[in-house]
Symmetry: none
Subunit: 212 residues, 4 copies
DNA sequence: CATGAATGAGAGTTCATTCAT
DNA sequence: AATGAATGAACTCTCATTCAT
């Protein structure tokens, strides 16, 4: 009855949550949103169905919750890079775009399944049943990253690393390239079992670097 | 379920089919594959559920039938452009990429909903609910376009319009840019109600042209 | 417009009916009642679905109509045999039971599918949707055969061919043996692809002959 | 669909299962396999449709689960009798056939509906609606009983209780007599409301005993 | 007479969600 | 906090039957 002080309750709760998260991520990745059942997630997480509902209001919330860490990871990298740019530690556009490319790759590597969920979310499917609050939470986080990106671009233009341009348009192009390559290469990987994501993304950013 | 009795009961097959197509497109666009029911499609098309199955073997077939025209439209444009390239009617890389950009825009304009369905498909979220045969059919058609694109790129490189490069990688970059921009701009348009797709895509292809 | 006198209308009608009958019989035999669709029957008969409904009120009636000829065939054989018994042309119980056995076999051979339909009907399944009138028609015909059988048995007992016994019970035993063997041997034939119906039925009737 | 709220929501698994079994048996008996719906079964059992699927994988499994106990009951009786025969405790053919007859009657009494379901199955009318695996499971169990019967007959012949004969044929005759009488008497009972099954079956086996 | 497009009720089955324990 | 039996709405798909032509 007395909770083991070496294993505080909130810790156990966090562990449970992480286990469910992990189970959900793997299954959603392999079988997609519709193809994954709450029962499967519960089983893989080693808990009962009811317990999953103790941690997540419903399937949508669980799905969505998987993308927050990715957005936060991306935000962390962007901020670090922002500080580097502000400190004039980025010599030229080549290094600049290289860095962006590596941030994208690291974000992807951090959680490929989560990344795909972000894309599905951006595509706007299945989420009619999602609570407005959840959608707003996600959008707020995404907007923050977006703003950070534009701030970095502004700084780079002020410093002459990049030619002066519309920062909105440029950040759109960079993000589009990222998600476009991720989508295409994942799609190809699903049938060919070969993963060319890194090479293609790097090649793409090289072309962009030359063009900017 | 109950169709409007004021409508004539019998219609030209092509008309019925078009009505079902239109209804399906709109619904799949808004609610996604899994989120759309055959009953909804039937109701919106003004026919009974059974009638939908008279025209399409199952939900999969109906879904794929919506992307095929888009893939075919894209294929037509690519072939026309391919003949132009073969006839040396494309002077330089700027004109070349302009043309690709216009093909993308025209394909998108031909059927934006269909285009989005292609993306949702490429993202792979319905896979478990779709027969392997259906998936294969689409992939075959997509592969054809893919090959055509690479052939065009090869020709352009032989003619010195483009620097010699890996055609697989380059066609991936071009397609990724396209779908990335479409996804991002549609996502933004959904909340801001402003459509910047054309400008962003053209800007993106300009950068690419400069970089190649 | 003027009907061809060499091919009178009622003849054509009978042919159509026979074609539908034949198609239905084959399909019901192979795929069972529930497994056969009206569309399949129509297609095999070379007519449209609507036409089948011109000749048969519904699927049940069509199914049921297939057993009438069998009951009539059985009735014809019984009457012929009855006249033979009345004319003292059957010497002993062995010959008597031999004759019954051959009647059964000939009835079965006349239309095995129809025979099976009779059994399904007797088993009482699926016919909740059948019109009382149809059921009554069948039962009337069956009752006639039943009465004929008992009359024959009475006559045979009066003539000392068979020991005096309860005719109801005896006719039940004979019919039970017949349908029991048919059911078992068909069931076995379905998996072993070997047809031992004749041998088994003859052996069974020999045993019965010895026991009576 | 909606269960009686006055009933306790949770029940012992075995009780629930028995309730569903009972409901299914009654309905399959009256309306046949195809004529019975899962919804009807659920309603009669006082549970929701989903609950039925909690206990049985599908309609097939539920159906077969109803015959298995009967086949097993028959198997038990046969084995007991087999041991008696092996121990020379059966004096003559009359006692032998009496015993078989009583086994049949007891098996029938154990579950008349289940017995009828076996017959419907043997008649083969649901085959297209039933998975090959399900069919095989039943056939395997039936084959076991069949083999036991033949072993018993062989032993009886070795002991001179029965005249030497083809055991396959003889077991077929005995089983045919049983199912034939069951089918006929049930059919008659349905209209006359008089049950002569026992008498008819005993009379039939007496005749067979005399004939063997 | 004949057609076959259209119907629509209803089948089996799944699964997110609830709630008594 | 955790369970999992139970729910029931919703799904895809079938098919006997009708009826305008």
């Amino acid at each position: 009855m007395t909770p083991d002080p070496s294993k505080p309750r909130f810790k156990a709760k966090a562990v449970r949550l992480a286990e469910i998260h992990a189970a959900a991520r793997e299954l959603f990745f392999v079988k997609g949103f519709a193809g994954t059942t709450m029962a499967q997630i519960a089983q893989r997480a080693g808990v009962s169905k009811g317990t999953v509902y103790l941690y997540f209001k419903n399937k949508d919330e669980l799905y969505i919750s998987l993308m927050m860490p990715v957005l936060e990871e991306l935000g962390r990298h962007l901020e670090i890079f922002g500080r580097k740019v502000a400190a004039r530690q980025v010599p030229d556009k080549r290094a600049f775009l290289d860095a962006i490319c590596e941030i994208d790759l690291r974000t992807y590597a951090f959680d490929p399944d989560g990344m795909r969920i972000i894309q599905a979310f951006q595509l706007g499917n299945h989420f009619s049943a999602m609570s407005a609050e959840t959608i707003a939470t996600i959008n707020r986080r995404a907007a923050t990253n977006y703003r950070t990106t534009r701030d970095i671009l502004s700084q780079a233009m002020r410093d002459g690393i990049l030619k002066t341009r519309d920062t909105v348009q440029l950040s759109d192009i960079l993000w589009s390239m990222f998600i476009g390559v991720v989508q295409l290469e994942e799609s190809k990987a699903r049938t060919t079992r070969k993963d060319h994501l890194k090479e293609t993304l790097r090649a793409a950013f090289e072309v962009l670097a030359d063009g900017l």
